[in-house]
């Protein structure tokens, strides 16, 4: 079913209603765009190089720089290689984006959206911090391992949906989030004043010699050549499976070969300069919009556009910062520009509708739902007692008792109850999103609301020199609701169609990630404060904010019974729901508002990166709780249980240090989630 929906490349990726109608077979639009970008890049390059070196010396600097003249050395060994690297990386990403889109039949596939860049980056970061000797074998191998692992995870997560475009991109986002969470954990746990990881991860194109260029050239060349040899079979991959198979193409082999070549391109780029956001997506999409219909044309135009794009962006960054300015990573800037592009693209892509997933699920229904719920409840009570009473102190592990009890409870109770409420709210929000969208990968984390809250927090930290906790909370709430408004504004056009909303969330999250990268790359110590909160620490929760969270949760839960009928119906699909006489628009809007409130209230406590919203409903469903109400109760209990457990582990595992609870939940949750989503 999903296979049929994954429409073929040639017909469906054109922006709806704006089909370019250029005469002839040439991608005129793409060529014009390329020319315009090249002109801009050339002008900027001219201006940059003029600022560095008098024109009379240009040829000398290019051919044989005078080693005594620093200006010539800089042009020859810093400016020109940087230019070369920007061209190479831009072209490689554009090519990789096009191949990914073709092989996955997915107009939103790109190095970032399918999680490959994040995987490569994480592998390199892990190797740098934990096993530097691995890097001696070659950065590319480490990056490749990470990239392939990420891709495998994404494909495994979206396999049962027939690799439909939306499920792949959502799985890609989840994998990126997970990789990002681990990366953040590394930084938080190794608190130091030097943040080199940030600069590199944000895609600084700065060069000191030609080595990166010479390193990239053969590797990218080989991968590009492999793709060039596969143009014909890759074209056939754009057809549906039956059509391709009837032409005698060994589909699986070419799919894998195409994917492997694209992943290699991405891994090499990440190994050389870090993550360059969104160039791949932009180049591939612009080539298509510009009229490159045939794969052969796309494979030429996308790299050209990608190279021109990154060249122009990088020269623009150099104009803005000056040859000596503070360092702004180009990769983060392209991501900043790319996220709005993704938002703009959303309504213009024919993505097809997603099939409801939970309705078709063949999981067994439990007979004794009450028994299961009681068992989880009992477990939760046990965990609560443990979390409140048992922890290490200066004299080792002890049960709190006597006069110690009250003092310790005054610290632990707010944190535990806030974690409890946040976990419960996230679980409910996730359940509602999954029932609303019929997509098992839906959750508040991918709705963009968490990102909005985090964005507000960031503004507060950087705009005000001393942001107290109430100010931070106010800012985060404002951010959450601003994100909700943006998401709803985009959703309104599509009558709140769930998949559009989720993708808007993806774009918002990407925008937010890019901003974080830019800020952290400046090495500002305040970035550490932000990271600390992002990783979901319950540390700062005092009695007042715990009470606030618990009260909010309580009030929102009072409204839940009103939603249960809708939540039972929504997975049946839009047509069925309307057939039952329900106003779909209003229902969706109300559910979304509820999700937004739940998410904002919980994000403030545990940060935007947990997977509770994604995980808890699945666990409840796995236990055989099929109808909305028992599943909701089960999910809420499971969500609270995981969060309380995560908070306890975070407080005690490396005493007196602490691991943020949100991070522990993510680290536990990721593998559990992958296991849950694997279909037998």
């Amino acid at each position: 079913m999903a296979e049929q929906q994954a429409l073929s490349t040639e017909t469906s990726f054109r922006p709806a209603g704006r089909a370019p109608r250029f005469p002839g077979r040439h991608p005129v639009g793409a060529l014009l765009l390329c020319a315009a970008l090249l002109a801009a890049a050339l002008a900027a390059t001219f201006s940059n190089i003029t600022a560095q070196l008098p024109r009379a010396l240009w040829l000398d600097a290019l051919a044989s720089p005078d080693i005594d003249d620093m200006r010539q050395v800089l042009v020859h060994y810093a400016f020109l290689p940087r230019l070369a690297v920007s061209l190479l990386c831009g072209a490689a990403l554009g090519l990789a984006g096009t191949v990914l889109q073709q092989v996955l039949r997915n107009p939103l596939a790109s190095p970032e959206t399918v999680g490959v860049s994040a995987g490569a980056y994480l592998a390199l970061a892990l190797a740098t911090l934990l096993a530097p000797s691995l890097l001696a074998f070659g950065r590319e191998w480490v990056a490749l391992a990470g990239a392939f692992a990420a891709l495998a995870a994404v494909l495994a997560l979206s396999w049962h949906k027939g690799l439909s475009p939306l499920s792949v991109v959502l799985a890609g986002l989840v994998v990126s989030l997970y990789a990002g969470a681990i990366g953040a954990a590394l930084v938080v746990l190794r608190h130091e004043w030097l943040a080199s990881l940030f600069i590199w991860g944000a895609g600084s194109l700065g060069q000191q010699d030609w080595s990166a260029t010479l390193w990239l050239l053969p590797r990218l060349g080989a991968a590009a050549l492999a793709i060039g040899l596969m143009v014909r079979p890759l074209t056939l991959l754009g057809l549906d499976d039956e059509g391709a198979r009837s032409l005698g193409v060994p589909l699986a082999a070419y799919r894998f070969a195409g994917l492997a070549a694209a992943v290699c391109l991405i891994a090499f780029v990440v190994a050389a300069v870090g993550v360059i956001g969104f160039v791949g997506l932009a180049a591939a999409t612009l080539a298509r919009i510009g009229g490159a219909r045939r794969l052969g044309q796309q494979l030429v135009m996308a790299p050209l556009i990608g190279a021109a794009l990154l060249w122009a962006a990088d020269q623009g960054v150099q104009i803005a910062t000056g040859p000596q300015g503070d360092l702004i990573p180009t990769g983060a800037i392209t991501a900043l520009l790319g996220a709005p592009l993704l938002l703009w693209l959303l309504p213009r892509l024919g993505l097809g509708a997603e099939a409801p997933a939970l309705g078709a699920e063949r999981l067994p229904r439990a007979r004794h739902t009450g028994l299961w719920l009681a068992a989880i409840g009992g477990l939760l009570l046990l965990m609560l007692a443990l979390a409140l009473l048992y922890a290490p102190g200066p004299d080792g592990w002890t049960f709190a008792s006597g006069d110690q009890l009250q003092a310790l409870l005054s610290w632990r109770l707010p944190r535990v109850s806030a974690a409890f409420a946040a976990g419960a709210m996230l679980a409910l929000a996730g359940l509602m999103m999954q029932r609303l969208t019929g997509n098992p990968m839906a959750s508040p984390e991918v709705l963009g609301i968490s990102a909005g809250a985090a964005l507000g927090m960031m503004v507060a930290l950087f705009a005000l020199s001393d942001a107290s906790r109430p100010v931070q909370i106010a800012a985060a709430t404002t951010g959450a609701f601003a994100a909700l408004l943006v998401t709803l504004a985009i959703g309104r056009r599509a009558a709140y169609a769930p998949e559009r909303l989720l993708l808007a969330g993806v774009a918002l999250t990407a925008l937010f990630d890019a901003l974080i990268l830019v800020l952290t790359a400046t090495g500002d110590p305040r970035a550490m404060l932000l990271l600390n909160w992002l990783t979901g620490s319950t540390y700062g929760v005092d009695a007042a904010s715990a009470l606030l969270t618990v009260t909010t949760a309580f009030c929102l839960f009072l409204a839940v019974p009103l939603f249960m009928r809708w939540l039972d119906m929504l997975p049946l699909g839009a047509v069925a729901v309307q057939g039952l006489g329900v106003n779909l628009r209003v229902t969706r809007l109300l559910v979304l508002l509820m999700v937004a409130a739940l998410t904002a209230a919980s994000t403030l406590v545990v940060g935007p990166l947990t997977f509770i919203g994604l995980m808890a409903p699945h666990l409840a469903r796995r236990l055989g709780l099929a109808r909305a109400l028992p599943q909701a109760i089960g999910a809420v209990l499971v969500g609270a249980l995981i969060m309380v457990c995560a908070d306890w582990i975070g407080r005690t595992a490396i005493f007196p240090r602490q691991i943020p609870a949100g991070l522990v939940a993510t680290l536990i949750g990721g593998p559990v989630l992958m296991w849950l989503l694997r279909r037998r």
């Binding site: 600069i199 790359a521 602490q658």
Partner: protein, 292 residues
């Protein structure tokens, strides 16, 4: 002369610690969350009960040594509150950077916040004021004034010693990776030290209020006669790759062989760090001139 001042100062330390205290007064139990304030406390002869991120002391601060009995209460951003309470401190020393957790800390003990690095700059003056404030807090005003005077005296010694070197400016940097550095300028403690020992800072560009800017190493090529002083610790792999880079090898200070490797100095420190920086820089410059 320099050595002598430094030696005199360090000789004071053990004395100060064993000196009999005011009759019957129990020593204050101080938890210090900032390494800069902690180094001043230690130099005044007061050992805090606990500090945050104990293990980075060896790597970033080094001097004065941290006594082994000082407890570690976790990271600077999230000092363990339960542990903190069980330590029963009389006072917690904090910095404005940690104002977010101040209400939590205040539940354990009174918090004194001392800002050295703020948007208003002037870290040296602030460090002097902080010294007086801390000295008054622990009842060691005399030692406090002695520390300030010794630091000033040390600077004028170093200034005399370094007068042959004052013509050429100096960059002070930390390597982030082989391509990028943090260069310290206006608003930094090192700039204040430069002013007092008669050395010009080669970096005249903007800095943030912690006193540094992040730039690629080619950003350090504008001054043709500058020397470079880089601080340890180095990130892994920086030293090896640097020597191969043509830009690095064409940098004026590499070609003049005017590069100095300095042991770690806390860049966000107070008077002891300022003094340590002046001493290490002077030693490095003298060693360079001795090499010819």
């Amino acid at each position: 002369m320099t050595r002598r001042t430094a030696l005199a100062l360090s000789a004071l330390l053990p004395l100060a610690t064993v000196m009999p205290r005011a009759a019957g007064a129990k020593p204050l139990r101080i938890v210090c969350l900032d390494d800069g304030l902690a180094e001043t406390l230690l130099t005044l002869g007061v050992t805090p009960v606990a500090v945050a991120d104990r293990e980075v002391w060896e790597k970033w601060v080094v001097e004065p040594p941290l006594p082994p009995e000082v407890a570690d209460i976790g990271t600077i951003l999230e000092p363990n509150l339960e542990f903190l309470q069980q330590l029963r401190p009389d006072i917690i020393l904090s910095i404005p950077y940690l104002d977010g957790i101040k209400p939590l800390l205040e539940r354990v003990a009174p918090v004194t916040t001392i800002g050295i690095y703020t948007p208003d700059g002037q870290p040296y003056q602030r460090a002097v004021e902080a010294t007086r404030q801390l000295a008054a807090l622990v009842g060691r005003q005399k030692e406090g004034e002695a520390l300030i005077a010794a630091t000033e005296a040390h600077f004028s010694d170093v200034r005399r010693q370094l007068s042959p070197f004052s013509a050429r400016p100096v960059y002070v940097v930390n390597f982030l990776d082989p391509r990028n550095v943090r260069v310290y300028g206006r608003m930094s403690l090192f700039e204040a030290v430069f002013d007092r020992i008669g050395i010009r800072n080669a970096w005249t560009g903007e800095t943030n209020y912690w006193g540094f800017a992040t730039v690629g190493i080619d950003g350090l090529a504008t001054s043709s006669d500058a020397r470079l002083a880089y601080l340890e610790p180095l990130p892994e792999g920086a030293a090896g790759t640097l020597t191969e880079s043509p830009v690095w090898n064409a940098m004026p200070f590499v070609r003049n062989r005017s590069i100095m490797r300095l042991p770690p100095v806390l860049m966000f420190g107070t008077l002891p760090s300022a003094s340590r920086f002046a001493r290490l820089l002077a030693e490095a410059l003298m060693a360079e001139s001795a090499r010819g």
